[in-house]
């Protein structure tokens, strides 16, 4: 029932997530890097972006930063970060989103977090600038 954008450079994973979410009844688009993700946002804004961190061309934090900076409603889209645990804490704090899963997680964790994000619909609130710009954003 929701419109979800999955941004991950692993096509197997991205497609599996799509299958899973489509079974749940959502509409899912895929992008394999941050730039393609931004392009997809240009077409229409989704209800949720599931965002990998390490990607070529433009990585997760990079895409999140551009969403924040470019406005046009993009800064309001909730982000669910998915990545290995080591990087996750720092990036989650930087991006300021309460929704994240540590790879590899299982179906229940993912669907649970997706459900939360779609219900609460909280946009990211970085406590300080992404990419270390040092600015406080509210």
């Amino acid at each position: 029932m929701a419109d979800i954008l999955v941004v991950d450079d692993d096509p197997n994973l991205a497609e599996t997530m799509r299958d899973l979410l489509e079974i749940e009844g959502h509409t899912v688009r895929l992008a394999l890097d941050g730039q393609s993700g931004l392009d997809a946002l240009g077409d229409r804004l989704p209800d949720l972006v599931i965002l990998d961190i390490e990607m070529p061309v433009l990585d997760g934090p990079g895409m999140a930063h551009r969403m924040l900076v470019e406005n046009a409603g993009r800064e309001k889209v909730p982000i669910l970060l998915a990545s290995g645990f080591a990087d996750l804490c720092l990036v989650v704090a930087r991006v300021g989103t309460p929704y994240f899963v540590a790879k590899p997680c299982d179906v229940d964790d993912l669907l649970g977090m997706v459900g939360r994000a779609l219900t609460e619909h909280m946009p990211p609130k970085p406590r300080f600038g992404i990419e270390g710009s040092g600015a406080e954003m509210e």
Binding site: L13, G84, A86, K103, V107, G132
Partner: protein, 464 residues
């Protein structure tokens, strides 16, 4: 490095030869000079002195004999005894001269002198035999004339021999001078050799030290490079492993969902086992990653706000602790800045808190307390649990890799990572334990003074 080895060998050989030449030259020159000096001091100079003594004796003798002949006033007895004594002394002095080593140039001169001295002796005795003055004037005149001849003869002989000896002395002195002149260039050369040897030794020593320093530097750079490569490698692995693992995990979940409820127990079980194995793999990979990263060089200028990170970690464990029925407490948080990145501090604390929560599961009292204490230049973070404690004697071995505590899951890298991380940042780790009552794991980190200006890239989080 064959060239280097043979260069060193040749240089050492040159130094050794130079030193041998130095010593040999010094010995030769001093030997030659010494023999010349000995010659002068033991032969020529004493001879001249001895001849002079004879001269003095003979003059005194002649003077006193003349007094007698001339009938000069004075005690005759005294004069006679003086003459006697002087004769004996002249005789002794002559013997002393003859005792000296003879040089070839004198040939018959000493014998001539002896003859003259004997003449004088005869004259003296004849004068002594006469009364003083002799009554017959002609006798006195004759005696005086003979005395004069004898004295002159001796004078001539003495003069001749003195000249010879003086000439000898001069020639020896000339030889020494000549030797010194000849020796000067040799001495100069030896000094140059000595200087060259010293310089060569200094250059070699410097070169050796420099090469050692260069090697050390290279080794250090290499180990830093390796650490960097390992870090980059682990990041790559993480990215490449974890996504496929997640695909497997999700696919398993999907497959499980797709199974019809009835009659698929075995398949279901198989899928559950697959899922459990996946969990293990995940833990393993995360643990390995953290461990590999822990050995990386610390960033200079990295800083973290201790209180903020502690609060954040405790917050993040809130849900897990609640689910496990574990009470989380923080106490005595001393505001301080530590010399490591927030990520490292988070890792350190999370590892210990995670362990503590595991330890207290199933215990009667389930409490995990985190404390911060200030020490001189360090800050100490303690994580106390009400678990079963650590077996006595095991306090240091549990920080080694692959050592598990009790039956807890995991491959035992958590504490090894904590140790590696803390030590890489200038801190330490440890544990106190009372078996049955719990354990307190602690780590220390160096603090930075509050006004320390650090490089940008330090992330300070403001609470709340």
């Amino acid at each position: 490095m064959p060239h280097y080895g043979s260069f060193l060998g040749l240089a050492l050989l040159a130094i050794a030869l130079g030193l041998v030449a130095l010593i040999g030259g010094a010995v030769y020159i001093s030997g030659v000079l010494r023999s010349a000096a000995e010659s002068m001091s033991s032969d020529a100079a004493p001879a001249i002195v001895a001849l002079k003594s004879i001269d003095v004796d003979v003059q005194e003798l002649a003077a006193t004999l003349e007094e007698l002949l001339a009938g000069m006033p004075g005690d005759v007895v005294i004069r006679r005894s003086r003459i006697q004594r002087t004769l004996e002394r002249a005789h002794d002095d002559f013997q002393a001269y003859m005792a000296l080593p003879a040089s070839g140039s004198e040939v018959g001169l000493p014998l001539e002198l002896q003859r003259q001295l004997e003449e004088m002796d005869l004259v003296a005795r004849r004068i002594l035999a006469e009364p003083a003055p002799p009554p017959v004037a002609r006798t006195a005149g004759e005696l005086a004339s003979e005395l004069h001849d004898a004295a002159s003869g001796i004078d001539r002989a003495l003069l001749h021999m003195s000249r010879l000896k003086a000439a000898e002395l001069q020639s020896l002195s000339d030889r020494v001078s000549a030797l010194r002149h000849r020796a000067l260039p040799v001495i100069l050369l030896l000094n140059v050799i000595a200087f060259a040897v010293a310089v060569a030794a200094i250059v070699i020593a410097y070169e050796l030290v420099r090469r050692a320093a260069v090697l050390e530097q290279k080794a250090r750079e290499q180990s830093e490079r390796r650490a960097g490569e390992l870090e980059a490698f682990s990041v790559r692995i993480a990215h490449d492993l974890l996504s496929p693992l997640m695909t497997v995990s999700l696919a398993l979940g999907l497959a499980e969902q797709r199974l019809p409820e009835a009659g698929n127990d075995r398949t279901r079980t198989a899928l559950e086992r697959a899922r459990a194995s996946l969990h293990s793999v995940k833990r393993l990979v995360n643990g390995l990653l953290a461990f590999a990263r822990a050995g990386a060089q610390k960033q200079p200028g990295a800083r973290a706000d201790l209180v903020a990170v502690v609060q954040e970690v405790m917050e993040s464990f809130g849900p897990i602790a609640e689910q496990a029925g574990v009470e989380l407490r923080t106490e005595a948080l001393v505001p301080s800045t530590v010399a490591c990145s927030p990520g490292v501090l988070t890792s350190l604390l999370s590892n210990l808190v995670q362990n503590a929560i595991k330890f207290v599961k199933g215990r009667e009292v389930r409490r995990v307390e985190v404390r911060v204490l200030e020490q001189t230049s360090l800050v100490r973070v303690e994580v106390e649990d009400t678990g079963p404690g650590i077996a006595p004697g095991a306090e240091s071995v549990i920080f080694e890799p692959y050592v598990r505590i009790g039956a807890h899951a995991g491959i035992g890298l958590g504490l090894a990572t904590v140790k590696r991380l803390a030590e890489a940042h200038g801190g330490a780790v440890g544990v106190w334990s009372e078996p049955g009552a719990g354990a307190t794991f602690w780590f220390t980190l160096p603090v930075v003074p509050a006004d320390d200006s650090s490089e940008p890239g330090a992330e300070s989080e403001e609470p709340g």
